[in-house]
Symmetry: C2
Subunit: 407 residues, 2 copies
């Protein structure tokens, strides 16, 4: 025991007490995470909706497999290299819920589709242009990877199936980013997809990211209601052209009960519920959604104390600040503190109330990151703790397999 | 050639044209970087001041060695694990310009000090508390690393020297973070350092981060002038107690000509000048400082185009946004575009002038990150290009050795 026995880069070893975890480090409260996992799985089961959590959040194949064991049909990712990391980690049902345009990347996408088909799994992808469909079809037709880039051989006993890829048309339902406008434009794309044998038109991608962060339930309900109307209209146009729309997939942690209640969405992509973050916790909670707990924390240490403030060793190289600064999570007996930005490697801690106590040099503190996804992406490992942050034990080290998988 | 022959994770191979670099990827314009390197080295030589650039910016041992070949005396780092990465990469003179309080980390610091001493190098560290000095001294005295954590054996012919560590007292000269207030408090710390044989009091750490980002030269001059006065006063008190103050070290890219002109600082820690970023470029330039060029770019690709905007594949998992969003760097013939935040994996591009053209699907674009340090920390490699962004060739792949080295 003791940090002197750690291999370089690891902040803790399995079996160590929480006190031995080096700082700054991302720590998962496994008990809280597993409760979040069960609550979301229960919700999906109860409401008869498929759950395909977004792995861009945790980027860990082990957590993806855990989610699938709890009933998820597979995972979403945003990037080709994330999909590759998930396949390498044993995940067999993956949806790249994003547009891929580069021919070089599309060759890798095609290789993954072939590999997953051969292993009895499947790959899906989103498109929003005829050009994107043509490039995808060209890559699926040739799949001309160099020998050293070909996927590893499949099990001898698995029967090779003709590779195919499920294709979803992204509709911009209010996010204002990728996707076609709702309406007739999607019909031509559905027809274009069906002209290419290895491509199967699978349905519509409809994610309203902005709605996730509207604070009031009523505002979110209005935004998702409009999105549902847009999708219904678009679906009707495609089906009027004789093309069935298999599935509508989307939704996030901020609003998924609304998408579910609409009856329009058949699959939920929420990811953040597993860890939660300070930003989502600011939403007025929809009583139709389960309550999720914070399960993701930065353990940090006080490295300097002055008359006015304490300084901890976690700055924005330890946690993303795009959705606000972290909140200090005071354990019983710890002072109430407010975190202010101290730059890349430091945080400034001040008493939440004037005249309140400061922590002492060397004290451990716990932060709740503002935004879980880009925070996880800064770390190679998550330290999974059982039994709470005060007295718990490191139970498992979770590798962030797709850390930095940007391409 | 072609991306299909890339090893996983690498965005390009040496010898490929710029067009083959996968996206999003951090690209270094080597010609611009080398001009920045030479300008800064010339400045330090001309003004008779030591240059110890901050490696927290590039986190690359290869670039640290390049800087030392150009005349730098060594590098600064902020973290123990950054120092370890630099030592592993052959750097022998390292200053941890930050406080380390954890006994486990201080054992690693002591091991590095022993290793560097044995190899003819040296390690230095900053302190701002008597407790920190006592902990450092305890670690230096025992250096009780487990056998599997001991540094690799030194060359047979190198003579083991008694390990020692240079210790700088950090003074808060306006940054408002770590450090003692200017004045008599530093005297007791200098005395405390000198009570421990392996510790050598080496001088004062005086870095005014806030001053770096004051936009006007006059404001920066005022801030650095006050800092200089604070340091002079503190130095006089320490020397009046019979303890020589060997060196004052500090300064950054925003203000180093001012610290130099004051005659107080003997060593400059500027790091960002090598790559520059959109934030430092907003400073009114001090004619006493060399002009630096942007040498760090995110290559990104247009993945979706709508009537209102284009979407590129670089979001804030590709570049840090703590100091503002990236600027679009239009190559000759490319449209003038403004980047808006599209989330973790996307950027929204709109014409800078109403009615201006949008780029086409698949087009490559170049971004200048807002802040170089945390942007580099998101990437495992920097792709070094020779001959410009339009027509250049990938000359070298630079590993970000200390990527994610937070502890």
């Amino acid at each position: 025991m003791g940090a002197a026995t750690l291999s370089p880069g690891l902040a803790a070893l399995e079996g160590q007490p929480v006190a031995a975890i080096d700082t700054p480090t991302l720590v998962i409260d496994l008990d809280a995470m597993e409760r979040n996992l069960a609550r979301m799985a229960d919700f999906a089961r109860t409401h008869g909706v498929r759950l395909r959590p977004h792995a861009k959040m945790h980027k860990s194949a082990a957590l993806a497999r855990l989610q699938m064991q709890a009933g998820a049909v597979g995972v979403c990712v945003q990037k080709t290299s994330e999909a590759e990391a998930m396949v390498a980690g044993g995940v067999r049902d993956i949806y790249i819920s994003n547009e891929i345009i580069s021919p070089a990347k599309l060759r890798r996408v095609a290789a993954l589709a072939h590999e997953l088909a051969a292993r009895g799994g499947r790959l899906a992808i989103a498109v929003d242009s005829v050009e994107g469909i043509a490039r995808l079809a060209a890559a699926m037709a040739t799949n001309n990877l160099a020998p050293d880039q070909a996927p590893p051989p499949v099990h001898q006993d698995s029967e090779a199936r003709p590779a195919a890829i499920d294709v979803f048309i992204e509709i911009d339902v209010g996010q204002g980013r990728c996707g076609l406008p709702p309406g007739p434009a999607a019909v031509a794309l559905a027809q274009a997809i069906n002209r290419h044998a290895p491509l199967r038109f699978a349905g519509l991608q409809a994610y309203h990211g902005r709605a996730q962060h509207l604070r009031g339930v009523a505002e979110r309900r209005g935004a998702i209601g409009q999105a549902a109307e847009s999708i219904e209209r678009t679906r009707a146009l495609i089906e009027a052209a004789g093309i069935p729309v298999g599935l509508v997939t989307g939704a996030g942690t901020g609003s998924f009960a609304l998408e579910t209640a609409s009856g329009v969405w058949g699959e939920l992509q929420a990811g953040s519920f597993l860890f939660m973050d300070a930003d989502y916790a600011q939403n007025e909670r929809d009583p139709a959604q389960p309550a999720f707990e914070h399960a993701l924390f930065v353990k940090t240490q006080v490295m300097s104390v002055s008359a006015e403030h304490a300084v901890c060793d976690a700055g924005h190289k330890s946690h993303a600040i795009d959705s606000g600064l972290p909140r200090v999570h005071a354990l019983p007996g710890q002072p109430a503190l407010t975190y202010a930005n101290g730059g890349d490697e430091h945080g400034l801690l001040r008493p939440t109330q004037d005249g309140g106590p400061l922590p002492a040099l060397g004290d451990a503190l716990w932060l709740i990151p503002g935004h879980c996804d880009p925070t996880v992406n800064l770390h190679d490992h998550l330290i999974g703790v059982r039994g709470g942050l005060a007295q718990g034990i490191v139970e498992r080290i979770i590798r962030v397999d797709a850390r930095g998988a940007l391409r």
